[in-house]
């Protein structure tokens, strides 16, 4: 990486839906901010989950990441909003669904986010990008802009489907737009140690990662209903209830990230 003022850009990606991408992105961002880092969370998912987790009304947004991506005169800084948790958010809403088509008409469409982020790079230590459950142009943009990708996988049999396709996509992105892209690691989420299924999947993942030379976060995120409750309190779980196991598990992951071990 270049100068010390360059942020680390982390894309949280997996085309499988509901594997805790948004939960991981929001909680990791909150913890990085809590640790005194200057952080920007970029929502690249038209579902607008990041804003929802923080209690924002995505319909009421005057501007969103969509505007920055498709309008030449709008920069990321114009769409960023501060949050109550000491980090900035570039929020998304359903408008972003339209960007899929509009972006495809742009020159070097894969690199729009990367180019748009340039002017704000020196304002942040970390930029975390939440991606949609697909491998379309929005995810490709996120992976192109990123230094590292964090892959959450919910610890269940079906979630393993598509991991190879994701890894192939990462290789493809490296080849075409972002040779420096690294895999930060695979994070097992929604792990339920009481089920054979979860344990088996984790064991399988462990062997797979070892064979492929991938980092598997030693800390798993366990299944807990609290994660689904937190958005109701408009606060990331790691801030709402620091004492809960789920918060402590994400804390471990964040420490590994901050210490630069991954």
């Amino acid at each position: 990486m270049a100068g010390a003022s360059q942020p680390t850009i982390i894309a949280v990606a997996n085309q499988k839906g509901g594997v805790a991408k948004t939960t991981t992105a929001v909680n990791l961002t909150a913890l990085l901010a809590l640790a005194g880092k200057r952080v920007l969370l970029v929502d690249m998912d038209p579902q607008g989950g990041c804003a929802v987790c923080l209690g924002m009304d995505t319909e009421a947004l005057e501007r969103s990441i969509y505007d920055a991506l498709v309008k030449p005169e709008v920069g990321i800084a114009d769409v960023v909003v501060p949050t109550a948790f000491d980090f900035d958010l570039a929020p998304a809403n359903i408008d972003l669904a339209g960007a899929e088509i509009e972006l495809k008409q742009a020159l070097a469409a894969e690199t729009v986010l990367q180019r748009k982020l340039k002017p704000v790079l020196d304002k942040y230590d970390y930029i975390v990008i939440d991606t949609p459950p697909s491998l379309g142009i929005l995810t490709v943009n996120s992976l192109t802009a990123a230094d590292k990708v964090l892959i959450p996988i919910s610890a269940e049999y079906m979630a393993l489907r598509g991991l190879r396709m994701l890894l192939d996509t990462l290789e493809n992105v490296r080849e075409v737009t972002n040779p420096g892209l690294k895999i930060m690691g695979i994070l097992a989420t929604r792990y339920d140690g009481r089920t054979i299924n979860s344990r088996e999947v984790y064991e399988y993942l462990r062997e797979f990662c070892e064979r492929e030379g991938l980092h598997l976060f030693p800390q798993v995120i366990k299944q807990s209903v609290r994660f689904a409750e937190a958005p109701g309190y408009q606060t990331p779980l790691v801030i709402w209830r620091k004492d809960l196991d789920g918060a402590k598990q994400y804390q471990k992951v964040a420490e590994e990230v901050i210490n630069g071990e991954v």
Partner: protein, 112 residues
């Protein structure tokens, strides 16, 4: 723990290779990036203005050009580019730093 009779855990999809997601080549993307870059660099229209500089300021523009060329390998820069960039930077400094900007300090003191 009782021995499980479940079949061994295998996931063939993890082993087989999938398709490409970006259906383009590096060359195609970089050609478009170059086109974008050139479009950005396309010079805007320039208006002719005349200011008088003291000789050392005239010499300074030459010095800047020489230093850029010799020490920084910059070939495509002319006197106008240098003067223009310096003025625009001075404005940014004035706007963001107000009284502590170098222009405010330079001329503020001279005025008092």
């Amino acid at each position: 723990m009782a021995k499980s009779k479940r079949p061994a855990f295998v996931f063939p999809e993890l082993e087989s290779r999938g398709r490409r997601t970006i259906l383009r080549t590096t060359e195609e993307v970089s050609a478009e990036l170059n086109a974008l870059h050139e479009a950005e660099e396309e010079p805007k229209e320039r208006v002719k203005v005349t200011y008088r500089f003291q000789p050392e300021a005239v010499e300074a523009v030459e010095d800047i050009r020489r230093i850029l060329r010799r020490q920084h390998g910059v070939r495509k820069v002319n006197r106008e580019d240098i003067a223009q960039a310096a003025v625009l930077e001075a404005l940014r400094d004035l706007e963001s730093n107000g009284p502590s900007s170098f222009l405010a300090r330079e001329f503020g003191e001279a005025a008092s």
